[in-house]
Each structure stands twice: as structure tokens, then as C-alpha cells.
Symmetry: C2
């Protein structure tokens, strides 16, 4: 295993495609969505999990606890579900201070309150010194899917407009700044936040959402490539329309990073029919977290599985998957 | 943090009581059952999670993959649910061989097939060499609770009979034998197995099950003490009636371990009304996994929160919680 097998890019994709999908062969996993929508009796329930290994544990705008709650809440939202219940599995390293566990637990509880979910079940394991790294958190989550829509990559259609819920790149830069004790102009805080309200508002407004994807490891670029490949469609986006804060852009230039691949924790893309795109944008902009939502592109042709970007300086380039590992342990 | 904070004994209990229950204050967690039973729309759904850090990854009778599936399946069963869907979160250490990941994934899939559940969603993270220990697995699980019964420690009543589903101590001894390259008389294999069929059979037979608990970290002794304390009842058990295989008893004597506190992964206790105990035993004994089920004691008085054991050599002793860490990283 290389670090890049967990990085959200090409190697991780290969690991999933070559080992997990064939081994765990079932239609839920094969969809490779952010979570699975399963039937529990007569009810459609979304079910998802993520482990969190972010370093440092505490960073500007969040910590491993708020990240673990919001990340799983957002994966449920990407299934069109109302997030309801979360589990919490902790793996602690011997020698970790109890105060750290307490702070993380309190942060999880505060984030759960903000997101309207309850942490209802949990587990704690402790490993020897040197066999872990302070604290790892796993959360799984469930929530009822009230909408009748089937939301997923295979619903993407030519003509769909791609909406982005706000500026990108803050989470990754906040983490690297903390890790390397870098000072950038202004404090760059993680965008770590729950996005379920915005998504449920889209559904309540009758927007026929085709696909949702939150932009975590691998950033906007990797998410778009993955969706285009799964949908077998061509996605064309315009670089100028992708909001990136000045200070994030500056930091990316100094660090030699492309904001297109920098991780986020409170951002998502929505694929919606062109006829509803303006109305959908209006709904998103009513929410503080997505006030800067923008239409960044469209699905232009079926059958090609690639992403083209009209660059800010003119010309079109092919957006590739993230190759290797940009920032390990970002989430 | 000490290793014993994850050991299923006194320190873990204190961590849960003093940090998690007050912080995550909600009625589901306060019950401290093996999982939570929540409402998803009109359906009662059991939801549970466990992380697995067992060393070595592969041992006689199982591996971390089958353990991670059966452990979570069994926690769902302890809620009276039919286990249906599992998530899988992997934390891999850089440098781990892909072949190990593949073997564990295949073992999980085989165990899922045996237990009648599907692995529907997952996540993989990779940490740097020296920041993990090969491979950690988290599984969460959900399943519909079809029974109308409310199953939990607070349902335990004086007069209830305590049924044990089979012999105890095999998992812990199998792990320590593998870890220390010990040879005991005969190979002692882990009892790692799903127990949902047996539990659902009890419910289908109309047994009014009051409480169920699977016997993992801390063994039978810790489970009984925890239940007696939560129920505020006195549980009296008879040492002679607790099945322990000869080779396990021998290994325990050599190692200075009390089989009462050695971990299991395919064993549970059921508290049932005395009038139904014989019939319940009959139902359990029809299943291969619980063919040796036995009545090991009864709930004798309300309000005392302790466990008394009539010892094999005569006399009665108070069963205490496991103090410190008997075998770290047993699951």
C-alpha cells in the first residue's frame, strides 16, 4: 500500500475497482456512490461510512470530530437522504491524553447538533504506543430517503448543468498551513460544514436532481472525472466560473498546488436539468453555506467519460484524475 | 489512554460513563446496549458499529475480516434485529501488501454470505508507515427489528433464567496461542461465528427474550457484571454449568487466565422468563452453533447489581469486573 491508495486519485480508484468491487460484488457497491440506498422494510434508507485520519487533529475551522460528523452527514445528503443517526468508532493510541478524547467528543456532539443528527452507538479500541497515531475516528450514518428520485452518476444526462455550491480549496490549504506552520495572508479556515439543508431544499423545491457529489479527497477535479467516467458523459466546465478565494489561490501558487484538486469538506456539485438550473441556483444561494453557488459547466455529450475545462487564459484542456498523493491524510 | 481503556473492563466502562455518555447525551447511547434501535420512518432499525484491531490479522478459526463481519452481525442480533447491511471502513498502513487486503476482503465477503448480509458501502484510508499497524477494520451494520419486544438490560426481571449459547474462552485462547506461538493440546480455534439465526429462532418461537448480550472483550464475567449493574438485579450463576472445553481450561491454567474473562466471538447470553427457559434451550440446541447451550443461572433479587457465582468446588464468590487488561487487541 502506498499513501496514494488513500488519496482519492488514480491508485485509490484502482484499488476499489480491482479489489473491492469484484470481491464484494453487489449492485449497491458497484454504483460507487457516496453511500448506499437500501431498503429497510418499506423505507428507503441511505447508509454510509468514512474513517478519518486527518493530521493535525485540530485545525483552523474544525477538527477531526467535526470533520467526522460533517463528512458522513454530507455523504448521506449526497444520497438525497435526511441524515438522522450516526455511529462513532474510535481507535486511540496508548498514551493519548484523555483531554483530547474529551475535546473531540465535544466537537462531535456540537457538530451533530448543528447538523440535526444524533450519535447513537459507538465503540472504542486502544492500540499500543507506536501502532496508531493519536486518534482515528470512524463514523457511519443512516437517514431516510424521502424523495422518490434516484440520485447517482448513472442519472447524469447530456444537457445537465453542473452547479458548484461555493468556493473550493479551503480545507486542504487550512490543513497544510497548520501542518507546516505556514502563514498565509489572512487565516484560511476549513470549509468543514454540513450541507444537508441545502440539498434537502433543492429536493423540496422540486428540482429533479440527477446526481450529487461532495468534493473531499481529490477535490473538484477528481470528483468530476469520476462522475464523467461513471456516467459515460462529457463534462465541460469553465475555470473562470469556479470560485476560489484570493488567499487560497495565493497559497496554492506558493505551494505549487492546483485548487482543482485540493480537498473540501463543505462543498458539493449537483447535476440538474438545464431548465431548472437557475431556480436551483436561487435555492442554493438562500443558504449561508452555499450563498456563492455557481453554474460551472454542463454535460455536453454522451459516451465519452471525460472532463474538459475552458481555462481562464483561453483554450481547452483535459482534466485528469489526480495522480499520486497531493496531501496525505487530509481527512 | 491505557490499553485497558479498550479492554472491556473497568477502565473502559469509566471512559464510557464519564466521557461519552454525558457528552453524547441521548437515550440511545445511555442504554449502553450493543447497538441502538432507532426509528427510520415507520420502521425500527438496529444500528451498531465496532472497530477491529486484532493482532495477528489471521488466526485459527478466523481473521480480522470474518471477525469484523460476525462481530457487527452479532451486535445487531443482540438488538433482536435481522442483520441486513454492513459498511466497511479500512485504515491501512503504508507498506501493507495488497494481497493481505485482498485476503481480508475475501474473508469479509465469505462471512457476509454465511451471515446473510451485504457489504454495501465502504471507505479506505492509508496512514504512513509506523502510524498504524497493518490494517484496522471498522464495520457498522443495520437491520430491521421485526419483533415488538423491547430487548435490553432494563428488561431483566427477577426470576429470569440466564442461558449461555455454548462453551466460552476459545477466541481469546486462539489469539494468544497464535500471538505467542504456543502449542496447546489440540488446536484451539476461535468460536468466531454469526449468531443471528439462533436469536431470530428464539423470537420466532415466541420466547419473550428480556435481554441479549454477546460475550466479547471481557468475556462472560464482564458481560454479566455489566448487565447486573444496569438492571439493578442480582445474577447468580453456577460455575459447573458454564461449558469450557478441556483444552481451553488447560490453556487457561497454563497461562493463568480465568476462562470467565476470556473473549468470545460467537457466544451470547439470553435472559428469558423461567417458564420459557426449557423451550428456549430446545430452540437454541437445534442450531449447530448453540448445540451446547446451557442454563447457567438466574436473576434472584432486584436492586443489588452484582453477580454471585457458586464455584465448582463449593462456596459462593462475587464476580467482579475485569480490572486492567487481560489480553490487549483481542478483537
Amino acid at each position: 500500500m502506498l499513501l496514494a491508495h488513500g488519496g482519492g486519485g488514480r491508485l485509490m480508484s484502482q484499488l476499489i475497482e480491482r479489489v473491492f468491487v469484484p470481491t464484494f460484488a453487489n449492485p449497491y457497491l458497484s454504483r460507487q456512490h457516496d453511500g448506499a440506498v437500501v431498503r429497510c422494510g418499506s423505507v428507503r434508507v441511505a447508509f454510509t461510512t468514512d474513517s478519518y485520519v486527518v493530521q493535525p487533529l485540530f485545525f483552523a475551522g474544525g477538527d477531526i470530530g467535526s470533520l467526522a460528523v460533517n463528512g458522513t452527514v454530507n455523504d448521506l445528503a449526497m444520497c438525497g437522504a435526511r441524515p438522522q443517526y450516526l455511529s462513532c468508532g474510535l481507535i486511540l493510541e496508548e498514551g493519548l491524553e484523555l483531554e483530547v478524547v474529551r475535546r473531540v467528543a465535544e466537537s462531535m456532539q456540537a457538530a451533530a447538533g448543528r447538523a440535526g443528527v444524533q450519535l447513537v452507538t459507538g465503540d472504542t479500541k486502544v492500540v499500543e504506543r507506536g501502532k496508531g497515531d493519536g486518534l482515528f475516528v470512524n463514523t457511519a450514518g443512516i437517514g431516510v430517503v424521502e424523495s422518490e428520485l434516484d440520485i447517482g452518476p448513472e442519472q447524469i444526462r447530456p444537457g445537465d448543468v453542473v452547479l458548484l455550491s461555493g468556493d473550493v480549496g479551503r480545507h486542504g490549504i487550512a490543513i497544510i498551513a497548520q501542518r507546516e506552520s505556514l502563514q498565509f495572508e489572512g487565516t484560511i479556515e476549513s470549509d468543514c460544514a454540513p450541507v444537508a439543508e441545502e440539498v434537502l431544499a433543492l429536493l423540496a423545491a422540486g428540482i429533479e436532481v440527477h446526481c450529487l457529489r461532495d468534493l473531499t479527497r481529490g477535490g473538484l477535479g477528481s470528483a468530476l472525472v469520476e462522475l464523467a467516467e461513471r456516467a459515460g458523459a462529457c463534462v465541460e466546465v469553465c475555470e473562470r466560473d469556479i470560485p476560489v478565494r484570493e488567499e487560497v489561490r495565493g497559497a496554492c501558487e506558493i505551494l505549487g498546488l492546483d485548487p482543482l484538486y485540493v480537498a473540501n469538506e463543505g462543498r458539493f456539485v449537483a447535476f440538474v436539468p438545464a431548465a431548472q438550473a437557475e431556480r436551483a441556483l436561487g435555492v442554493l444561494r438562500e443558504h449561508a453555506g452555499s450563498a456563492q453557488a455557481a453554474a460551472i459547466g454542463a454535460v455536453t455529450a454522451a459516451g465519452s467519460g471525460r472532463v474538459l475545462m475552458e481555462s481562464a487564459v483561453g483554450g481547452q484542456r483535459l482534466v485528469d484524475r489526480l495522480s499520486g498523493e497531493q496531501l496525505p491524510r487530509i481527512c
